[in-house]
């Protein structure tokens, strides 16, 4: 008979640690016996991912490609070559690459969907550049904006998921990051237009966003202000 020194419960002979508090069993008179009959075997049953998920994936695929295919056929029948329908097909393909990881993957879904989706969105924009008469905007403009936006969204997803913030802090974080993103986007567009950076409209968004997040942080820090706010604005 061994007892957990921390919990005072008797333990089955096969327990090397107390299951309640994970304290190792110490009993000089009766050391832990590895061969004692365990309550459960060590072997795990394999639990396979369900077939349902594959069905949903198939359904999502059909739902995105069927409209695209219909458009291409209609377009081809009317104008005898595919023109506008190719954009629909590209858009649907991009949408599909965002949705499919959400259905198929079990862990880190949002991140994986974002990464695969970003790659396919860039590819889609690249193809569109090939199709339209106006060229030369993909590399200097579209790609940087897509990558920056994806990067910022990634940071926000990771923060929301893995860092435990209070509501106020999370909102402050979100606002200040959005502010940064707006500035970066203006830098990219300015560079594309005349190769020089002159921040204008993004500052109009940046300043209020940063102010709001600062106010939120102050409220978060000052308990007195928080209480006062709650008193004045309670619902």
């Amino acid at each position: 008979m061994s007892y957990c020194v921390n919990c005072g419960v008797e333990l089955r002979e096969s327990e090397s640690h107390c299951p309640l508090c994970d304290t190792k069993v110490v009993n000089p008179r009766k050391p832990y016996n590895e061969n004692a009959e365990r309550a459960y075997p060590r072997r795990y049953d394999v639990v396979l991912p369900a077939e349902n998920r594959m069905m949903t994936a198939l359904l999502a695929t059909i739902l995105t490609f069927l409209p695209a295919l219909t458009c291409v056929i209609v377009d081809y029948v009317i104008s005898e070559k595919a023109t506008w329908s190719l954009y629909v097909a590209i858009a649907m393909g991009v949408l599909w690459s965002f949705v499919l990881p959400l259905v198929v993957v079990t862990k880190h879904r949002a991140v994986i969907s974002l990464l695969i989706g970003t790659v396919s969105l860039s590819l889609g924009l690249f193809l569109i550049e090939k199709l339209v008469p106006v060229k030369g905007w993909f590399m200097p403009l579209a790609l940087p904006i897509v990558v920056c936006a994806a990067f910022f969204i990634l940071i926000i997803i990771l923060a929301a998921k893995y860092v435990v913030f209070g509501v106020l802090k999370m909102m402050a974080f979100f606002f200040s990051f959005t502010a940064l993103m707006v500035v970066v986007i203006e830098i990219v567009t300015d560079m594309y237009i005349d190769n020089s950076v002159q921040l204008q409209w993004s500052l109009a968004a940046f300043v209020p966003l940063v102010l709001v997040s600062l106010v939120l942080l102050i409220i978060e820090r000052k308990k007195r202000v928080k209480d006062e706010m709650r008193k004045k604005f309670h619902i």
Partner: protein
Amino acid sequence: MEKKWYRLDNAAKIFPVTKNSMWSNNFRVSVTLNEKIDPERLQKALEMTLPRFPNFSLTMKKGLFWYYLEHREGCPQVSEDAANPLRRFRTNKNRFLFRVRYYERRIAVEMFHVIADGNSSMLFLKTLAANYLRLGGVEIPNTHGVLDINEKPSDEEMEDSYQKYASFRVNKPRKERKAYHPKGVELKYNEIKIITGQINLRKLSEKSKEYKATITEFLCALLIKCFLDRQEREGARKKKPVKICIPVNLRSFYPSKSFRNFVLYTNPGVDPAYGNYTFEEIITQVHHFMGLNINEKNMNAMMSTNISSERNPFLKLLPLFIKNFGMLVAYRMYGESLTTCTFSNIGKMTLPDEMMPYVERFDFILNRQRNNAHAVSAVGFKDRLNITFTSKLVDSDLERDFFTSLVKMGIPVKIESNKNYEGE
């Protein structure tokens, strides 16, 4: 030959809707003998036992409007037990909705709740164990829940007793507040944590009498206390009521012989919004709540309310997939979100005297509900009560709180679990 089929009983209707790829509403009953189990002999015993229980030879199919159960031939293979029991049941491909498993000296029966409840599954387990022992040369009479395998199954044993006994005319409102649900880091999707405490039944019974409560009321109150303390530690700003879902065996009110589901629930609890409760106050609250709610009239009213929605001609005619969606929404609102955890005490097991020396213990394990973190189940045998916690949380604070409280009250507890401490 035409295959026999059955409608799902009223309680079972929700189970195919709520099950998903990781989880189904299942439970298991097991018996530990005093010698190592021989799988071949167990297989033979199973083949002898199965024809007596037609509700075990069923598989689930989809109709246009409802799921239904269909008879299937054959007998499943007994399988080795695992560290993660209560694996979800899949219902496609004509599968059986139960499995028989063995490990060392233990025989376990795992069930999908659609075909039977804990009480009738115990009959199956006892009969199976008796047949297993008989194959080893032990003479056992057919008493104390061991059924005669030569007897023909009766229609009464397959009836939907809810339909038969529900007679109330008025709909009972079921508005209730949402309950507290513990937070914590979760185990991997294919894992489940099981901790069993074996408790001295005599001391537990004396302690319960001190508080003028039954054993179930006493344990339920202790569970509420532990959840209240956990909520306090979590430091939530708005405290929610802690309510425990207690299954009530309706066979104690009606002369039903059904092997299928015939249970309802009652949810005693306390609301910390009313202030801090002492343990005595919680017990009083639980005791009077149970006294007020667990009676034939109230149970019949609940049963009739549940059935009336099923009998509604408009709802009846909705195609299955729309019904499923609606039922899932209703489950979100009126299902497990109203209770913190389920506690099912199946009572003290009896056996024919001839069988007693060969049987060491019984266990009853309830799978946790779909979103609730814990489930608690108990079964008594000889001088002990085995209480089992199943959980999806990594931490065992609740279990520790519960069992150490018993120790502090002078009731000895012996702990075992399915935790693996390999490599330490």
